[in-house]
Subunit: 241 residues, 2 copies
Amino acid sequence: MSLATIPDPDGRQTADDRTQAIRDHLRDAIVDRRLAPGTKLTETEVGALFNVSRTMARSALQMLSFEGLVRIERNRGAFVANPDPGEARQVFAARRLVEPGIAAAACAQATPRDLARLRAHLADERRHMDLRGPSARRAEIKASGEFHLLLAEASGNQILHRFMEELIARSSLVIALYGRSGASSCGHDEHGGIVDALERRDAAAAQALVVRHIDHIEADLDLDQGRTTSLKAALSSLRPT
Amino acid sequence: MSLATIPDPDGRQTADDRTQAIRDHLRDAIVDRRLAPGTKLTETEVGALFNVSRTMARSALQMLSFEGLVRIERNRGAFVANPDPGEARQVFAARRLVEPGIAAAACAQATPRDLARLRAHLADERRHMDLRGPSARRAEIKASGEFHLLLAEASGNQILHRFMEELIARSSLVIALYGRSGASSCGHDEHGGIVDALERRDAAAAQALVVRHIDHIEADLDLDQGRTTSLKAALSSLRPT
DNA sequence: GCCGCCCGGATCGCATACAATCGCTGCGTT
DNA sequence: AACGCAGCGATTGTATGCGATCCGGGCGGC
């Protein structure tokens, strides 16, 4: 029954913000699709799951709504976001705008430490790729997202990093929703190529590779599926339980 | 004494979210420098100013901290952000990355309605430019920011629009902090040129003009002033009252 | 006289309590 | 039988209370 457990339930070790921890757990659950899009997240329920009061649950949900992973309707409650194809396209349009620039910046700014972390991450990704099955696919999506986050970190710009955090989280949700399962593993080699470009400090190449990479990810999506009617779109907002 | 008043204090007219209104008022006050950077924003005090309880004040402050306009220190309180030159540079680096792309997107997506609104805004800006004095300068900074927001709106991408909202707010703060007063009015003609390019659907020109525009804004800043020591930087975090 | 320590006030963190709102169910009416 | 409406349960919106934490000032020791 438990969705996730706080590392230290008696609440001392965790030190600073427990609400932060709740938010992270919920975000993971959403991005991993352990929480289906459209699911209602009752404040009381969330609070009970994490052994905190509604205050904290509410706070965490509000944070997630800022990130676009949760939709809050006044006097109705919070629901796991259920991005329609249009929203999905916007997410990727934003990535297409932002990420090449981040790659270029990372080319100029990346420290050896950054590069090492990227390399280490590539190894992680390869490990996930060897596995099969739905949980492996989840892990793969998550790892793939983390690569882009590391890239943003390497750019040395905290603001862009935070933007990317949001974009990656929403992308993961979109991929989980609309991804054709088949080709999603193609990403890894492209990641490697990007790191190569970074190490050569070849900004133009890095940018081009990132654009191609995003193209590939988006091409793997099936964003035309729900195109029946506007009624369907309206219904998709309801909880599928 | 009153910082700002809620349109309808008895709290009916405002309809949906009062915390939203509080956040907007505070943001305006910060961006306008009616609240000096470093000022402590006590939950109780904010609540009293807007006739709400700490709960709402806290919520509004938390939103602002997400936007980077307020810094929250655990068990200490909320303070108006006091961006150091490094942070200022990150803000503008982010804008330099994002805005040209937005301009290009706007070239492709802008509706006649968008263009009309941009034109109307240009007229507003010209009106502000004719006035002199500190309050006029504030209005000018704000109007200048709104132009970029309209541009983001014209791009048709809500996500990018929200990113720009944050960047513009932080930019306004940075300009207010580090701007040399003299040349800031140069921006207007550039705005006009950008709209011209949009109307011609000339994406390349629009991008180039936006980049030049951001260059000019940033060139007008004096980001080397606090370069004495790291001690100075540490002290700048304290409240100047 | 200077330094470190302890204590008090202020402020936040979080929980709980009360009020407002919404959707739903069941009844009465047409 | 279908529609409209009123009461009710559930859930959120908002306020307040209590304990925890941190900063600053006063006191004692060195």
